[in-house]
């Protein structure tokens, strides 16, 4: 804002105050999930601050335009457990190792890609499993998905 040519003539302190005030106002409105009735609330609030009608209209329209992206941004702030973003898998067939020959066992290596909202990425979780174990895992995930579906239908 300090580099904007249109605002060059205004005292920087005042500019900062204005910016901060506007930002706080928007954030608070966004936090409380301002819907149509609350927009009116915002409107009256700004009226109390003795802004003229045209400016209030402009402010509210701009707010409406960006409301959704603001909601998404605010919703993504906050702590949560490590979040799985993707999965990779590898199927291998073991023939022998130095302790035991002729093992002949298939096994899966599954890697879950993890993202941590606080500190960027996080080491991925990798584990090996047999076919039966993978079937168990997939079965449980499917149960979770089914209960999700049922919940949305309620």
């Amino acid at each position: 804002i300090l580099d904007d040519p249109d605002l060059k003539d205004i005292d920087p302190t005042v500019l900062k105050h204005c910016h901060a005030a506007a930002a706080t106002c928007i954030l608070e409105a966004g936090k409380q999930q301002a819907d149509i009735s609350a927009i009116r609330h915002l409107y009256t609030c700004l009226e109390d601050c003795k802004l003229d009608k045209e400016r209030i209209e402009q402010f509210c329209t701009e707010y409406q335009k960006n409301k959704d992206s603001l909601e998404i941004l605010l919703g993504s702030i906050g702590r949560s457990p490590l979040h799985i973003t993707d999965v990779s898998w590898r199927l291998e067939y073991q023939i022998k190792n130095n302790q035991l020959h002729k093992t002949y066992q298939p096994s899966y290596l599954v890697t879950l890609n993890i993202e941590n909202s606080d500190s960027g990425s996080h080491p991925d979780v990798s584990f090996s499993c047999t076919m039966e174990q993978l079937q168990d895992l997939v079965g449980k995930l499917k149960d979770a998905a089914k209960s999700l579906e049922r919940a949305t239908q309620m």
Partner: protein, 199 residues
């Protein structure tokens, strides 16, 4: 595939014919116990006293037998190969037969013990899951954000670790699709052909 026995190994096993039939059974039992639980010097001493042979000889005999059994089980050699391999020791037929029987009876168990020595990645144990809906947070009120929270139990070298993870519905469906594809791979012609030809 024949087993090659070194001179030292042959010397160790050399005590067997002198010890007699009952001793072979005793030594065999000691060898298996050693494989299951590790060296037991007291048991060797007791056996030495009972059979009236030196402790060192007993110890060597047990070690020789242990090595013979582990190598044979590791390579999974057939009956004929085993018999041919011990033929070089010049034992009596009876002794050869009891050694073969010892090998065949315990091969499976020894292989499973050896299997535990292999290098291992953390392996899957189980998964618990829970469906959550986030309703509000400090920065945003009045949300509806569904999520699936999971606790993944893994085994790493006999320790159990549990990790709490979360995912959203879209990713969950993606995970299921990907892992089902993985399971399907085993049933393709390519994999079936390899499994068949590797045996």
């Amino acid at each position: 595939m024949l087993l090659v026995l070194s001179a030292e190994h042959r010397a160790h096993l050399g005590c067997l014919p002198r010890a007699g039939g009952a001793a072979v059974g005793e030594l065999g039992r000691l060898a298996l116990e050693q494989l299951r639980r590790g060296a037991a010097p007291r048991a060797c001493e007791a056996a030495a006293r009972k059979l009236n042979i030196g402790v060192d000889t007993i110890q060597h005999g047990v070690e020789g037998l242990t090595y013979l059994l582990t190598e044979s089980s590791k390579l999974m050699i057939s009956d004929t190969d085993f018999q041919d391999s011990i033929h070089v020791l010049g034992f009596s037929d009876e002794l050869n037969k009891s050694l073969l029987q010892l090998y065949l009876d315990n091969r499976k168990e020894i292989r499973s013990i050896l299997g535990e020595l292999a290098p291992r990645l953390p392996s899957y144990h189980s998964l618990e899951w829970r469906l959550d809906v986030q309703l509000a947070s400090r920065s945003l009120r009045q949300q509806i954000k569904p999520a699936v929270t999971m606790k993944l139990h893994l085994n790493q070298n006999e320790d159990q670790t549990a990790q709490v993870l979360q995912t959203d519905p879209a990713t969950l469906l993606h995970l299921i699709q990907q892992l089902e594809q993985a399971l399907g791979e085993m049933k393709t012609n390519h994999c079936r052909r390899i499994v068949r030809n590797m045996k």
